[in-house]
């Protein structure tokens, strides 16, 4: 009786023979899997773009805390360090009264009316502030509650959260919607892709039904019958992954500038180029898994005793 090495060799030989025996059917099955993997790649691109849209929207949102004129720099610095200890803060920037005035002057450098009005004033009319960016836009409400607490009430003059609240809520709704609908859309398309692959491979195995029947009748064990078909399914997946890997990058290269013109700073080709090893490994993993699983499910039907 053969050892494990010989068994494995036989399984791969038979799998390869099955694969190349019916060229048109094999090409058809591989073609369907290429479409499925392209769909997965498209969904990955869509998820990347969605996440870029969400993060760029969230990047634009912050909350400014304006302090009363009698609040000292030490007290504001204490507020800043307390905020940082909350664990939900991405970044806190202190803007002193002087810096706020400088920035205001720079912004209105060409406006003589504003410049003249400022020159007439003895004191700096602007307030020191902290610009707070949270890790997640849903955390602003709790940050504001923290700042409005008794501890800082005497120092804080106003918080512009309420002016921004609607914008923040809208950003939250858009990002939540994009993520939820994107997830549902991905799952629905993935389910369709799996069904199409499964049925295509089942059709391929169905064409070898007589061979499977004979194998059962002559006493072939389930493992000996099944293994070459699993290898065959894996081969469809691996070939399809290789084709998609070769075709996807030129397509991404072509459409990336068009996306960048709509969403400045978002480079699709840059994202996939920097993750090339992970992306190609994932394609092969999904392709082989899909092929092997589909073969496994399809052949079970013919192995019922």
């Amino acid at each position: 009786m053969e050892d494990l090495k010989a068994t494995t060799k036989r399984v791969f030989n038979v799998g390869w023979t099955n694969f190349k025996r019916n060229t048109y059917l094999s090409m058809g099955t591989t073609g369907v899997m290429v479409l499925v993997l392209f769909l997965f790649s498209g969904l990955m691109s869509l998820n990347y773009l969605t996440s870029q849209i969400v993060s760029s929207l969230e990047e634009k949102v912050d909350v400014s805390v304006y302090f009363k004129n009698d609040a000292s720099e030490e007290e504001i610095s204490k507020v800043k360090s307390d905020l940082e200890l909350l664990g939900v803060i991405k970044n806190v920037e202190y803007v002193s009264k002087d810096k706020a005035l400088d920035e205001f002057k720079q912004r209105h450098a060409g406006d003589t009316l504003v410049q003249d009005s400022l020159a007439e004033l003895d004191d700096n009319p602007l307030q020191a502030s902290l610009n707070v960016k949270a890790d997640d836009s849903s955390q602003y409400a709790s940050i504001v509650t923290f700042l409005e607490g008794n501890k800082f009430r005497s120092l804080v003059d106003k918080i512009n959260f309420y002016e921004n609240e609607q914008v923040i809520a809208r950003v939250q709704a858009i990002s939540g919607g994009l993520q939820n609908w994107g997830f549902l859309f991905t799952m629905a398309l993935a389910a369709i892709a799996i069904l199409v692959t499964f049925n295509t491979i089942r059709l391929t195995i169905y064409s070898q039904k007589q061979e499977i029947e004979i194998m059962r009748l002559v006493g072939g064990s389930n493992w000996h019958i099944k293994a070459p078909y699993l290898v065959e399914g894996g081969m469809y997946g691996a070939l399809a992954a290789a084709v998609v890997a070769v075709l996807f990058y030129p397509v991404a290269y072509f459409i990336s500038p068009k996306i960048e013109s709509l969403m400045p700073g978002v480079s699709l080709i840059g994202y996939f180029a920097s993750n090339i090893i992970q992306f190609i490994s994932l394609l092969f993993f999904i392709g082989i898994l899909l092929g092997v699983t589909s073969s496994f499910v399809a052949i079970r039907r013919f192995l019922k005793i």
């Binding site: 059962r216 006493g219 019958i225």
Partner: protein, 229 residues
């Protein structure tokens, strides 16, 4: 030894459609049995019970003291290696040569290349196909195809051969050739169970004949059976 004890089978879980109805049968090792009856009488069902393709609805099918219903699924391939099967439609793989068709049965059971290259030419020699090793099924006559199917059934040196209408697609001359081959196999000690509706074939064999009609055994002629209405 094969024993059928009050065996009944039904069609597709429908108890109102009985295929076999209370069959009792005892077959000794080395016997040649012809099971005769019209189409739909239950002959093939009787054979499929022995290969555990189906289970009885009632009763027991016992092989060498073991109730086949008690065999775990994993052990069914081992049971089938003890039982060679031959069918009316040959069940040969058209894309494989005669050698490959027989070798295929050894490969799926895990035989190594050396064993295959030793055994396949020998078995093809026994059935008279030494010169057809490289021929594809479409290049063989009906009788040769059936002899090739018999060679494949013999490759695991089974103790039992089940032949389901093996002469159904053959002319008279080839039918007798196949029957002679089955008798030769039986003389070497293998139990042969032949299911057929062909009276001439049964009468030519002249051994035990079991007549089956509408799922019931209606006659069991133990010695020198001749089918006579």
């Amino acid at each position: 030894m094969i024993e059928f004890k009050d065996v009944s089978t039904i069609y597709d879980n429908d108890e109102s459609i009985e295929i076999l109805n209370g069959v009792n049968l005892h077959i000794k090792d080395g016997e040649f049995i012809s099971i005769i009856g019209p189409a739909g009488a239950g002959k093939s069902t009787l054979l499929r019970l022995l290969t555990r393709e189906i289970l009885p609805h009632k009763g027991e099918v016992i092989l060498d003291g073991v109730n086949l219903a008690d065999i775990p699924s994993k052990a069914i391939p081992l049971l089938r290696r003890k039982i060679g099967t031959v069918y009316q439609d040959f069940k040969l793989l058209s894309a494989k040569t005669a050698f490959e068709n027989v070798a295929f049965a050894m490969e799926v059971c895990g035989a190594d290349r050396g064993e295959i290259e030793d055994d396949v030419p020998k078995i093809l020699g026994i059935v008279g196909l030494s010169d057809k090793l490289k021929s594809f099924p479409h290049q063989l006559s009906g009788g040769e195809k059936q002899r090739l199917a018999i060679a494949r059934a013999l490759i695991h040196r089974p103790r039992i051969i089940l032949a389901d209408e093996p002469t159904g697609n053959l002319d008279l001359v080839n039918s007798y050739d196949v029957v002679k081959l089955l008798m030769k196999i039986n003389e070497l000690g293998t139990t042969v169970i032949l299911a057929t509706h062909n009276r001439e074939v049964v009468n030519a064999i002249g051994k035990r004949v079991i007549s089956i009609e509408k799922g019931k055994i209606v006659r069991d002629q133990v010695e020198n059976g001749k089918y006579v209405i």
